[in-house]
């Protein structure tokens, strides 16, 4: 136990938790925007898998990280467009459509990987940059202020998304469309256009999350996300549809995971309890959801297609 309490180990664990939290945070923030507009996207994980693969493949072929992120963005836009057409224009049931997107992402990324790459080969990873001065703080600096650009971007997105939702007309339209689309429609706010935009934002962010995951790891393999996208959806509920809450959830999830791994490496968690400990983050999320259930209310129009009548 005492070993864990050394500052070095604690700081390394926090840094690890932040790295783990990054893809969850980006994906969950995007899903927050989508859900606030009344659209649930269960396909987040599939979009992440596809974008992760295309980011990986692009970097493998070009050694250019920026091109990799752009490839992921393109995947996100295409998948978002498909999902928007299906659920907004054709009023398809959101639950099953999202599962369709998920299965497509899982299957197609796997197929492409087998055909185009085969054996996992390492690619260039995202480089970590220290924030001047802050990263020089002994111990604390490297843990908090020495990360890759996508991690910084993820945490910067928290106030940005909160601000967009609160202080822009677009954000107001998104909230209105998610709560009472009839009201928005009656005032000339296009429900379809607003939801298209929110879905595209959500999918693009899921795609960046996929890119962040694969470019942090520097390697790809089929089903890379292991359900990360679904946890991200749970984090949206956890965070009560507020960016700061979502960030809290993502950090909690990442830090618990990192702590469990640290304790396993040190033998604090005995090997016999290893598999049970691995469930800790999921169990914690479920407990939090149960405690929160009923206290917060999802957007009223969530999962409900809009039709005029």
């Amino acid at each position: 136990m005492s070993e864990f309490l050394t500052l070095t180990v604690i700081m390394a664990t926090i840094a690890s938790g932040i790295r783990l939290a990054t893809p969850y945070l980006i994906a969950a923030l995007g899903e927050t925007v989508g859900q606030r507009s009344g659209v649930l996207n269960l396909g987040v994980d599939g979009v992440m898998q596809l974008s992760a693969f295309f980011a990986y493949w692009t970097v493998l072929e070009t050694q250019n990280l920026i091109l990799g992120v752009l490839a992921a963005l393109a995947v996100g836009l295409i998948m978002g467009l498909i999902y928007a057409v299906v659920t907004v224009s054709f009023h398809a049931t959101q639950g099953i459509s999202g599962i369709g997107i998920f299965l497509f992402g899982l299957g197609f990324s796997d197929l492409m990987f087998q055909r185009q790459v085969g054996t996992p080969r390492p690619i260039k990873q995202l480089q970590e940059y220290g924030i001047p001065f802050l990263s020089d703080i002994p111990q604390v600096g490297p843990a908090l202020f020495e990360h890759n650009l996508l991690t910084y971007a993820a945490f910067l997105m928290v106030p940005i998304v909160a601000w967009v939702m609160r202080s822009t007309t677009f954000g107001m339209n998104v909230r209105a469309v998610g709560e009472n689309p009839q009201a928005a429609d009656s005032l000339g706010v296009s429900v379809a256009r607003t939801r298209y935009a929110a879905i595209l934002i959500g999918n693009t962010m899921a795609a960046i999350a996929g890119a962040a995951l694969v470019l942090q790891l520097g390697i790809f393999q089929p089903n890379l996300t292991q359900g990360l996208g679904f946890i991200a959806i749970a984090l949206v509920y956890f965070g009560a549809w507020r960016p700061v809450g979502v960030m809290g959830g993502a950090l909690l999830y990442g830090l618990v995971n990192a702590t469990v791994l640290q304790w396993k490496a040190q033998g604090i968690i005995p090997r016999s309890a290893s598999d049970i400990a691995a469930m800790a983050p999921a169990v914690l999320t479920i407990i939090a959801l149960v405690v929160l259930a009923g206290r917060v209310r999802p957007p009223s129009a969530l999962t409900r297609p809009f039709t005029r009548h």
Binding site: F104, G107, F108, I219, A265, G267, R271
Partner: protein, 332 residues
């Protein structure tokens, strides 16, 4: 009217789902093929393989397809059957068609095989990875003694560490992974090193494997190893930090050309050849075969790109010889 439109779009979605599921089914995999050195067999037996992922997956399924082909046999193949029921009907179909040897390449096919095999007493079924034949006398089983290569890797790791601490990243405490990890720990500890073992709880979570490796490094480990698919995440950490890595199940050199020291690889053709001999001799099953260092089914493949000191390599070869002649016990 509204309802009708709704049901139509659901039908469309279901069709989409089905086609996607088929794409998904065509993929997946775990192990890697080896390049065996066994003489071509001139058997007249006909072979079929039923396997869960694509036959060119460069992994689990391909390792068996390559092994059969290495014997000069052209098998019939049903691949991508990761739904067990589909695999079962394929296995039964080949037996019905009169194929002599049906290879059910997946632990998960065991229950189906227990139902099918008794109906075809003149057909041999080969099933793995599994350590027993479920008492069926027309079933051969195969599995790797992964602890042996683990022990050899462990001995080398102990020789390479400066800090005296070695980190191991495992998936779930089950199957080949446990044999490898335990063998590795035994070998490393015999060399005087301290071994920290983390089972992440997942066969697939690359990010967790990566952070588990980081955690080992935080705790002073300076040599790493691990087993199962998700270790690719740990290999990249090893690469990033310039820490030696030991692989298993497949030659992992392509993943970490600078840090992979050696990998334990499987050659199924060695045991397949023994099984064919038995079948031609009239015994259709009832035995489990292990690929081992001794029978050549396990092989330590060194990475030429890693500058392994000669004395360490010599120690490894010594250990291999010791395990083969029984003077070293790698059992766990």
């Amino acid at each position: 009217m509204n309802n009708k439109r709704k049901s139509l779009s659901i039908m469309r979605l279901l069709a989409l789902l089905l086609s996607l599921a088929m794409v998904a089914a065509a993929c997946g995999g775990s192990d890697d093929a080896g390049g065996g050195s066994v003489a071509e067999s001139d058997t007249d037996l006909t072979f079929a393989i039923v396997a869960p992922s694509a036959s060119d997956d460069l992994a689990f399924t391909q390792s068996m397809v390559d092994a059969v082909k290495a014997l000069g046999i052209e098998p019939q193949i049903t691949d991508g059957t990761f739904v067990v029921e589909e695999a079962a009907s394929a296995i039964r179909g080949y037996a019905d068609d009169g194929v002599n040897v049906v290879i059910a390449h997946g632990t998960q096919y065991g229950a189906s095989l227990a139902e099918i095999a008794p109906d075809f007493p003149d057909t041999t079924f080969i099933w793995g990875t599994a350590t027993d034949t479920q008492g069926l006398d027309n079933v051969f089983a195969y599995y790797p003694e992964a602890n042996e290569g683990g022990y050899v890797n462990g001995v080398m790791a102990a020789a390479l560490t400066n800090s005296g601490v070695i980190g191991v990243v495992g998936p779930v405490e089950a199957g080949d992974a446990v044999a490898y990890v335990n063998g590795f720990a035994k070998g490393a500890e015999a060399g005087g090193a301290e071994v920290n073992i983390t089972y992440t709880g997942s066969f697939g979570d690359v990010a967790l494997a990566s952070e588990a490796a980081q955690a080992h490094l935080t705790n002073n480990a300076d040599v790493l190893t691990g087993s199962a698919q998700m270790v690719v995440g740990a290999v990249t950490v090893a690469t990033g930090e310039g820490v030696p890595w030991f692989g298993t199940q497949a030659n992992q050199t392509p993943m970490g050309p600078d840090v992979v020291v050696a990998s334990q690889v499987y050659h199924w053709e060695v045991v397949l050849e023994q099984m064919i001999e038995e079948i031609e001799g009239g015994t259709l099953g009832g035995k489990a075969y292990a690929v081992t260092l001794e029978n050549g089914g396990l092989e330590i493949e060194y990475n030429d790109g890693f500058d392994l000191p000669d004395d360490v390599k010599a120690k490894a070869e010594e250990t291999i010889a010791g395990i083969i002649d029984g003077s070293i016990d790698a059992g766990v």
